[in-house]
Symmetry: none
Subunit: 241 residues, 2 copies
Amino acid sequence: MATPARRPLADDIAAVLKAEMRDGVHPPGGRLPSEADLCRRFGVSRATVRSAIKELDVLGLVRTQHGVGTFVRRRPAVRDGLERMGSISESIRASGKVPGHEYARRTLRPVLPDEAERMGVPADTEALELRRRITADGEVVAYSYDLIPRGLLPSDYTLDEPNGSVFDYFERRMGVRATLGVARVHAVDSAHIAWGPDAGKHRLFILLDQLHYDTAHRLLAYSRTYFVEGAYEFSLVRTGD
Amino acid sequence: MATPARRPLADDIAAVLKAEMRDGVHPPGGRLPSEADLCRRFGVSRATVRSAIKELDVLGLVRTQHGVGTFVRRRPAVRDGLERMGSISESIRASGKVPGHEYARRTLRPVLPDEAERMGVPADTEALELRRRITADGEVVAYSYDLIPRGLLPSDYTLDEPNGSVFDYFERRMGVRATLGVARVHAVDSAHIAWGPDAGKHRLFILLDQLHYDTAHRLLAYSRTYFVEGAYEFSLVRTGD
DNA sequence: CAGTGGTCTAGACCACGAA
DNA sequence: TCGTGGTCTAGACCACTGT
């Protein structure tokens, strides 16, 4: 009875439903087929269908209403749990969109005094500065300014890397994994952050001013990421006793 | 076979495990009993135990490792950030300033349709709306708009309460404690949020759009708190694997 | 190999909302 | 009343990890 479980069946089903929502098969505000219908269509048990729907719910793509049905939400935004460390690309992919990275600058330069203080490194430390735009389905969702201490870079580093996700680059090229981030959150209203075709459109941002560490508490990067307000939805679970 | 399903069994089990982690029965870094053990102990099926564990995983309290076990996460030493639930008054006091509350409005009204959807309550639910400013040493740090379902209020409620911290009010007058918050974070640029003498000065805010729950997952309040950018420092520790 | 978590099934009962 | 989603069970096979 049980099927091979390499890739969760529920994820496949969720992906199909995501695609259908994006393509207008299930328009915003519309009702998804009932769970029983989906069981028959995909030939799986109800538990599996429910797992898929729960995934869409957690991602904020649908809303379930007891005794009524499951409905497509009107506001399909990219969402991320702020308290969870993870690559921006990942969270874009998780919401059913295709992430993109456009690099505008890769420069080696000494860090500025206030950067050195925030990073806790000597004032003349050299670092790689990255300036890039992050997109979801071609739409700009964030502008990011990153600093990576030169000492961490591969010895054969050349200025044409990285090209995509910086998180992926850390893992693939440098063999380190960012597992801890210490961030400050700000609201920013400025015409001097955005660049490119949308420069005039984007003025309001959520700034994540963040230090990244690996498991050994070694500083990997200092990043200032300006998320375009409205394009990226931040959620946050706060706990007490 | 099936049990009455008023309050999810999995939540109860998760609560027990949480309490045991807090009390040191399962110390940080330690291993939780296996799923099979927990099934026997609580007398439930494995699906239910797994649901409870998934809840702890989403909250970042445990980490599962295939073929090995489920482990209690080591909590970061810094716990003074956005991810921690607490009253605004408390954090103001913690920074050595004196918190103040100025109430501008207390009204009973039906919730609006989009509020009802966010809160997950019927469309015509009555709620107490609070509108207030929160100050630190007399300086305004936040404007807050809160909704409390009428059903939660004391039977002898009159419209001259609360007067200070809403968190304190919950505990003292209603005997409930907000221990879980689900928030969305936004940047807001608007001249229509602030009121009073500083209305013209404050345009840029960090909005915490937040649902508050007690330990039984009962909705206590829906609050939209606009923090004056620069007046309140938000930090945040983000963790991964 | 044994024990762990990861996934899936088939069927059941309950609670809710609308007709 | 009927169809919906919400919860739970008992059992199964798979994949991973350490011995």
